[in-house]
């Protein structure tokens, strides 16, 4: 049995197992911490930064999904400073690519949309970038619309950690980062892809969508990923 640690979250004492991440423990104790790149069943990455929390004694904010619990640590999951930061991060995400909910296949089934609403984002203070990005419709069943990608890399991780195919990766750096199949080839031509559809289920937005879906029809079941992982005997 792994070592038990005791920590405080928002002033309440909780116990956790050493090695668990703050996000996991906080959520297990009924706390709301927004997150986009985190998904039950996959390793945390700290990519989206929405799950930032305050850790007493540390000046900067830390991502809850990649911060392991420690004995005696004290966490704040909700404060005006956090609310402002999370909202700003969400606005930056929205301004980066072309997120047009009203004509999106994931309208009403989108984690980005839901979180933006939960965080109270009703305006974006940054100028939209409106990048001209391609849509890869070469796959028989699925389509990748880079306009709707938030680079959370859930697809990359589920493909690597659960399916073991390693089809997806993020190429280029910074603002030029892009999702790519194999060696940046059309997805339909990928020799590693098993067509399993886990990347589709894991994607929080309409970026990876099932073909032929009308507006709002692209419903995902991201919870399937955790179920699959558990059925296979837990995370590797």
């Amino acid at each position: 049995m792994s070592k038990q640690v005791k920590l405080k979250i928002d002033g309440e004492y909780v116990t956790a197992e050493a090695g668990q991440m703050v996000l996991e423990v906080a959520r297990a104790n009924g706390k709301f911490i927004p997150a986009l790149c985190y998904i039950d069943g996959l390793k945390g990455l700290g990519a989206c930064r929405l799950c930032l929390v305050e850790v007493t004694g540390i000046g900067r904010l830390l991502p809850a999904c990649t911060t392991p619990v420690q004995d005696g640590m004290s966490i704040v999951t909700s404060s005006p400073r956090l609310a402002e930061c999370r909202k700003m991060i969400m606005e930056l995400l929205l301004s980066e690519r072309n997120h047009i909910c009203s004509v999106c296949v994931s309208n009403g089934n989108c984690e980005l949309q839901t979180l933006a609403a939960e965080l109270g984002v009703n305006h974006v203070q940054f100028p939209y970038r409106y990048p001209k990005l391609p849509v890869d419709a070469s796959h028989e069943r699925f389509v990748v619309d880079h306009n709707r990608c938030v680079l959370c890399s859930r697809c990359v991780r589920v493909c690597r950690e659960v399916e073991g195919a390693n089809t997806w990766s993020i190429i280029s750096r910074g603002i030029n980062a892009m999702l790519a199949a194999d060696l940046n080839e059309p997805w339909g031509g990928s020799s590693s892809c098993t067509n399993c559809g886990k990347c589709f289920e894991a994607c929080p937005t309409g970026a990876i969508a099932m073909k032929g879906k009308a507006v709002g029809e692209n419903a995902k079941r991201a919870e399937r990923i955790a179920r699959l992982v558990n059925a296979r005997g837990g995370a590797q």
Binding site: V103, V105, N107, A137, S138, E140, K211, G212, A214, E217
Partner: protein, 476 residues
């Protein structure tokens, strides 16, 4: 020479202005109907998956999104190269009839009735739907109820009244429930009564408008509309029929994909709205009219009992081919009656509840054309896709666009007849606007421009200087 500018034109959908050129004797020499915005849907859809088009293109219009959804979904059906399930097709008919009912009721009661019931020369401050509510509350209520019923048909099937995502490539997203069918059927008697009363009302005031009937776009032209295999009215599907001014059928059962053999599109630098014309006659002689009057003129019959009786009476009174655009109003109300009757027929068919409503397929063809008869006329969506089904090109001919040449000609005729002298009277200019209203144009759709329709009239001198102008907000 002076130029009169009417800007904005009111009680129509979209933005426009009219310029009238007067000669030295104060008579109208020329006129232009300018549609002043551009929206660009044909361009920015490029690169998107074709199956997203219905919902994207529906955003062209908030008044008749259903018509755009249908024309677009039909173009997608063609790209998929499939035949949609029969129940899906029937449900598309039903939702479209709801659209026709709400839009025709909107035009007659809210936009046109102020002119028709309160008078062309009545005070502009009262000549609107609010004035109508004050003067004839029961008529305004009737209009609101009828429109509401049409909206309810759409909402009951598609969950949303505006921009529903329910009409999809391959059919519709979900079948009709028994409860929805029963509710809509229960509303039929009241809707029928509403349509009958609207028609009776229009007929009762027609005598007051003899001058308008004679001069509101009263000229020979070609007419276009969709008919079924038997030559009956069909607003959802069929082939295009063209009749010339003599009533001869010059082209019949033209399939959607052959539209461009018969329709050309010309461009004039003073308007964002293209000028479609009947190709065999060339530009601008190939002027044709669509919409209620165009359809009523091309069809053999409507195919429902009461509408056919009214159609016969209409033809007995005004001839087999009715040439005055003022009678768009009359034709629209015959169609309204037809739509309610046809809706009842569909709802009473037990097959309407069939649950097989959608076919699935990928892009099996590189090109597709979808045509539906929108409330304002024939609506054409034409798409081309690449091998993966991403849009490479789109051409849209919007209902209102088909009537562009006719609207221009009608404005000139009305202006020549009613606008005289160097001082403008509001009633003169209202008639110029009213002839545009008769076509029930949706200019925001036609150019893919946004917003409500303010319209303006300008009076220009021989040198092109603006001598007078009337914007809707201005006092005369």
């Amino acid at each position: 020479m002076r130029v009169v500018e009417i800007s904005p034109v009111t009680r129509i959908e979209g933005h426009a202005k009219i310029t009238l050129h007067l000669n030295d004797d104060g008579l109208v020499e020329d006129s232009q109907f300018h549609v002043t915005q551009v929206r660009g849907f044909e361009k920015f859809c490029e690169g998107r998956p074709f199956y997203e088009m219905p919902s994207l293109m529906a955003r062209i219009c908030g008044i008749c999104p259903v018509s755009h959804l249908l024309a677009s979904a039909k173009a997608c059906d063609a790209v998929m190269a499939i035949r949609i399930p029969a129940a899906g097709e029937r449900l598309r008919h039903v939702v479209h009839l709801g659209q026709i009912i709400q839009s025709h009721a909107l035009n007659f009661f809210h936009l046109s009735a102020p002119d028709l019931l309160l008078g062309m020369d009545s005070a502009p401050a009262k000549r609107n739907v609010v004035g109508l509510v004050e003067a004839h509350p029961e008529i305004a209520r009737l209009g609101i109820q009828l429109r509401k019923y049409g909206q309810r048909v759409i909402e009951r099937l598609a969950a949303e009244r505006v921009h529903p995502a329910w009409i999809v490539p391959g059919g519709v997203a979900s079948p009709m429930s028994e409860a929805a069918r029963d509710e809509l059927l229960a509303g039929i008697p009241a809707a029928k009564e509403g349509a009958e009363r609207a028609l009776a009302l229009l007929k009762s005031v027609l005598d007051r408008f003899k001058d308008e009937v004679a001069n509101f776009g009263n000229f020979d032209s070609v007419y276009m509309g969709m008919v079924d295999a038997d030559g009956l009215m069909n607003l959802y599907d069929g082939g295009l029929r063209f009749r010339d001014a003599e009533g001869e059928i010059v082209a019949d059962h033209v399939p959607a994909e052959a539209y461009s053999d018969f329709i050309g599109e010309a461009v004039e630098k003073w308007s964002y709205l293209k000028m479609p014309y009947y190709k065999p006659m060339g530009y601008p002689d190939g002027l044709y009219r669509v919409g209620p009057l165009g359809r009523i003129n091309v069809v053999d019959r409507c195919g429902t009992p009461r509408a056919d009786e009214e159609l016969e009476a209409f033809r007995a009174a005004y001839g087999r081919i009715v040439t005055s655009s003022f009678h768009f109003h009359y034709a629209r109300l015959i169609e309204l009656l037809y739509a309610v009757e046809k809706l009842e027929i569909f709802l009473k068919d037990p097959d309407i509840l069939d649950t097989r409503v959608r076919a699935h397929a990928g892009p099996n063809a590189r090109e597709g054309v979808g045509i539906a008869e929108a409330p304002r006329g024939t609506l054409i969506h034409h798409y081309r896709v690449d091998g993966d089904g991403l849009m490479t090109w789109a051409n849209l001919i919007i209902a209102t666009g088909n009537n562009n040449l006719a609207m221009n000609k009608s404005i000139l005729q009305v202006a020549r007849h009613f606008v005289k002298g160097n001082k403008l009277k509001e009633g003169m200019l209202n008639r110029v606007e009213a002839v545009v209203r008769a076509y029930d144009p949706c200019l925001s759709c036609s150019t893919h421009a946004a917003g409500q329709m303010p319209m303006e009239v300008q009076l220009l001198g021989p040198d092109g200087a603006v001598l007078d102008r009337i914007a809707q907000a201005d006092e005369v």
